[in-house]
């Protein structure tokens, strides 16, 4: 009888263990992640006024002034051939030259590029071949030059638009 009881107990334990092991429940969800095309570009602020105050005697070209007090940052996930173009809201008068140079660690900077006459529809490239990813706090450099023959220029403001595009 003792053997029977033990056998029965073992059987119960085995049954209980099996029941526990099989007592599982699951629930499921379908989760879809989608990443759209993202273009982001931002500048840190406005550069200081660019004021030409001097020149070299005997030279028509006055001494240029520069400003590199601002930065720009980009993020894009579209392609490895993205570029940055620049344009002004209004062209500068003849004899005055505004150049722009953007630093880049993800693409190729074209150095100082004349944007004096780059207006809507005629934007110029300043950085090309930008790879996917982010590039933060790259230097924005402006160089403003003029000729003495162009005369003085009353303080004027231009809006420079940088565009991140493929």
């Amino acid at each position: 009888m003792k053997k029977s009881i033990i056998s029965l107990s073992i059987a119960i334990l085995i049954a209980a263990a099996f029941q526990t092991a099989s007592a599982q429940a699951t629930a499921s969800q379908n989760v879809t992640l989608q990443v759209n095309a993202v273009y982001k570009i931002a500048t840190s602020g406005n550069p200081n006024p660019l004021t030409i105050t001097t020149g070299t005697a005997g030279s028509d070209n006055l001494t240029p002034v520069t400003d590199n007090s601002t930065t720009y940052s980009i993020t894009q996930n579209v392609a490895n051939t993205v570029k940055i173009t620049a344009e002004l809201n209004n062209a500068l008068p003849s004899g005055y030259t505004l150049e722009l140079s953007l630093g880049s660690s993800k693409g190729t900077s074209l150095g100082y590029v004349d944007i004096s006459n780059a207006t809507s529809g005629s934007a110029v490239n300043v950085v090309t071949g930008i790879a996917r990813g982010a590039d933060a706090n790259q230097t924005v450099s402006y160089r403003f030059s003029a000729t003495a023959s162009a005369g003085t220029l009353t303080s004027t403001t231009r809006t420079v638009t940088l565009t991140l595009t493929n």
Partner: protein, 230 residues
């Protein structure tokens, strides 16, 4: 007290096992007490005569006209005979009773409030210069009912090599402890702990993380929540 010993037909007497008697006055008896229509039947197998004599003068008892009968069948045979009692035999008896057994099996129920979740990274609200882009969703809930103890809920995805990172977190569980945010993989990870013998719910927070350098695209996960022994 009178004792009689005689063969008894347990089937026709609708014998019902009342109790297994193991000891009488501290000695092993090894008998069984059955209830029959006209009395009690005591069935014993190996019973020392000396023990019987301590309690009864003969190995057959009669309590208030209830028979206690020595039976010489083997125990196994008698049990088999009892199990074979047909229902129509019982129906011939004037009184009847039955046993109602309530059995609660292991119950484990798990459910999500919605089977579809979409996480769309559009770049809205993100800052230029950051490679990492995120999107979160906390629109769905997980509900459970578990009547066994020592349980936890794990979570895994079926997507072997996802392009983007998908994290999950149990938010505000009514019972149990959130296991903390985990990155989903095909290996089950703890999602919620200490949910044994409870019913409750929690919100499910998904966080999708994509790097700009990973480009555009999509991942389709089937997320599975499983109740497991903790």
């Amino acid at each position: 007290m009178q004792l009689t010993e005689q063969p008894v037909d347990l089937i026709s007497r609708r014998a019902v096992l009342i109790q297994q008697i193991i000891r009488i006055r501290g000695r092993v008896l090894g008998g069984y007490l059955f209830n029959v229509a006209d009395g009690l039947v005591f069935l014993y197998g190996v019973i020392p005569k000396a023990d019987l004599n301590l309690r009864i003068t003969r190995p057959i008892l009669l309590f208030n006209n209830r028979l206690i009968v020595k039976q010489t069948f083997s125990t196994i045979f008698l049990f088999a005979a009892l199990l074979s009692i047909p229902a129509n035999v019982e129906a011939q008896i004037g009184s009847d009773n039955h046993t109602v057994t309530v059995q609660v099996s292991t119950v484990t129920v798990l459910q999500v409030s919605s089977g579809v979740v979409n996480l769309n990274i559009t770049g809205a609200g993100m800052v230029a210069g950051q490679d990492q882009m995120m999107a979160t969703d906390q629109s769905t809930s997980l509900l459970w009912g578990i009547n066994s103890s020592n349980k936890k809920i794990t979570v895994n995805t079926n997507l072997v090599n996802p392009t983007y990172t998908l994290k999950i977190l149990a938010v505000s569980p009514t019972v149990g402890i959130a296991a903390g945010e985990v990155t989903l993989s095909t290996t089950p990870a703890d999602f919620l702990l200490n949910v044994g013998r409870s019913s409750g719910s929690c919100q499910i927070r998904y966080t999708a993380i994509a790097l700009a350098s990973q480009g555009t695209g999509s991942d389709n996960h089937q997320i599975t929540f499983t109740v497991q022994t903790q």
